[in-house]
Amino acid sequence: MATEMTGREPVYVWEAPVRLWHWVMALAMVVLAVTGYFIASPLPSTPGEASDNYLLGYIRFAHFAAAYVFTIFLLVRIYWVFAGNKFAREIFAVPRSMLKPSWWGGLIDQGLYYAFLKKEARSYQGHNPLAQAAMFFMYLLGSLFMIVTGFALYGEGTGMGSWQYKLFSSWVIPLFGQSQDVHTWHHLGMWYLILFTIIHVYIVVREDISSRETVISTMVNGWRVPKP
């Protein structure tokens, strides 16, 4: 499921919904990480009457609103797996790609390249196998984990009759033991996604400079263009 670059022709890789999803997702993640951190470790107290202030309330509101945006865009993105082009499928099809030896070959090849043991990596139109693996195991599974644990915690506030509680809290909290453990793991999940973001941003910038095709502009205009 990884397509290598064949000629020197530009390829239309990321369709508009994928690009829009990417940037909305990125923004939502920033909002979620910052507000989430301040929910766990609140800012210094605000002075005055409680009725005149709603700081943590607003922070929590931003967190929950961004979480809904994050979730809904991921659902739309999953729809696009079926409606979009073959590149829209790549990061979701990793378990199936893992059955093919050629995919593993590409993964090892890319790993050797990043370990400076190989001078050139193969060029891919969409994601290379290593990137696919990172997208699947770090971004996708990490996001799903955050959505499930996040809604489980949210459902505690909306109460036992709510769909959030029935769909998530009712089984997630007993699974982890108690609410406190879900909080801890949700918090660790944030750091997991931050780790992903550090690696992702670094690799993208690095490849944009050193590879033979465009990388960052591809997520803006959709085209993978071989550099002159």
Binding site: P42, S45, T46, S179, D181, T184, L195
Partner: protein, 359 residues
């Protein structure tokens, strides 16, 4: 003929007026609506008194201490009369063989009809030698009495989750009761549970002849469906972002939210913030101390009572999520920087060698 609850109460000198007050209070706390009080009164007047056998395993008796301080005087009298007539090895008048005979008598005479209430839990380590009531390991007694019980109630966090004796590394292998018996168990966790919650659960069972509606972990929904945080009177300060930052600061005097002092209210399911303690006088947060989450599974093993972020033992070190996460992020950042540096050097070198080739 076994007397009804009402008859027993009248014998104890309880007036009909205070009997009805108890019924209304209990109906309200059970959330039964307008007709609830009449139903309870009717059941207690007509149904024969249900015998209760109260077993004590590995425990500290704080559940009993809480129970006999049930706010409404009648409630404690009600259940105390029930218990003194049957079996409770801590507060019954009989002792030794006499007491054991009372137990035998109750479980044979009321086979399949009595309620088993368990305080504490059985330690399974070393064949159960860490808890030997009446010369036998407690787990044997528990299993034998549970076999013919109509309902089993787990009093407190010990019976429900394991509590302090099951805290890491749990040397005696103290085990919550639902793991050693086959009966459905109503868990009434707390260390101790609130007295009104305890009498409420017993009253529900005897009134309706069935267990109250339970959540997935076996707790009665009427008392354990909301967190302390959801009904906390300091909640407005939480939403406003006003916190106690130190025990003696202005925030502490103003009654700000105790979240930063490690209050476990947001993760603890119990009725303390509504029912409160000691005849509704107060509860921990009302006294200026955070909730320690005593009704939650494994609350002894979640690190300090004064930290919101709990310790993670899975990594083999004492660290919280922020310390683990920040360490990983710093290591990743350093790795990225190193990788970038190597990349830059390699590129510079290959550029030089390319120049040479071109020359």
């Amino acid at each position: 003929m076994t007397p009804t609850f009402y008859e027993v109460m009248r014998q104890q000198g309880i007036t009909r007026r205070s009997f009805l007050k108890f019924c209304s209070l209990t109906a309200a706390s059970l959330g039964l609506g307008a007709g609830g009080a009449t139903k309870i009164a009717h059941a207690l007047e007509t149904k024969p008194r249900v015998p209760v056998v109260w077993l004590h395993g590995l425990e500290c008796t704080c559940c009993t201490e809480s129970f006999i301080r049930s706010a409404h005087p009648l409630a404690s009298d009600l259940v105390l009369s029930m218990l003194s007539l049957d079996y409770d090895d801590t507060i019954m008048a009989a002792a030794g063989h006499q007491a054991e005979a009372a137990l035998e008598d109750t479980i044979t005479r009321y086979k399949g009809k009595y309620i088993l209430a368990v305080e504490g839990n059985p330690p399974l380590g070393d064949d159960g030698v860490f808890c030997i009531p009446g010369g036998r390991p407690f787990v044997d007694k528990l299993r034998r009495v549970a076999k013919d019980a109509a309902a089993v109630v787990a009093w407190g966090s010990c019976a429900s989750w394991g509590c302090v004796q099951a805290a890491r590394p749990n040397p005696t292998k103290a085990t919550p009761i639902h793991q050693v018996i086959d009966n459905p168990v109503v868990k009434v966790p707390g260390c101790p549970p609130i007295a009104e919650v305890m009498t409420g659960v017993v009253t529900y069972i005897v009134t309706f002849g069935r267990l109250p509606e339970l959540d997935r972990q076996g707790r009665p929904k009427m008392f354990y469906s909301q967190r302390i945080h959801d009904k906390c009177y300091r909640r407005p300060h939480f939403d406003a972002g006003q916190f106690v930052e130190a025990w003696d600061d202005r925030g502490a005097r103003e009654g700000y939210c105790l979240y930063k002092m490690g209050c476990k209210g947001p993760t603890t399911y119990n009725a303390c913030s509504t029912v409160r303690w000691n005849e509704g006088v107060s509860f921990p947060i009302g006294s200026g101390h955070g909730c320690i989450g005593c009704s939650e599974d494994g609350f002894w093993d979640k690190g300090s009572f004064y930290d919101r972020l709990t310790n993670i033992k899975e990594f083999g070190i004492e660290a919280n999520a922020d310390r683990v996460g920040a360490t990983v992020a710093i290591v990743a950042g350093a790795a990225v920087a190193a990788h970038a540096a190597v990349t830059a050097i390699k590129r510079a070198r290959s550029a030089k060698s390319n120049e040479k080739v071109e020359k």
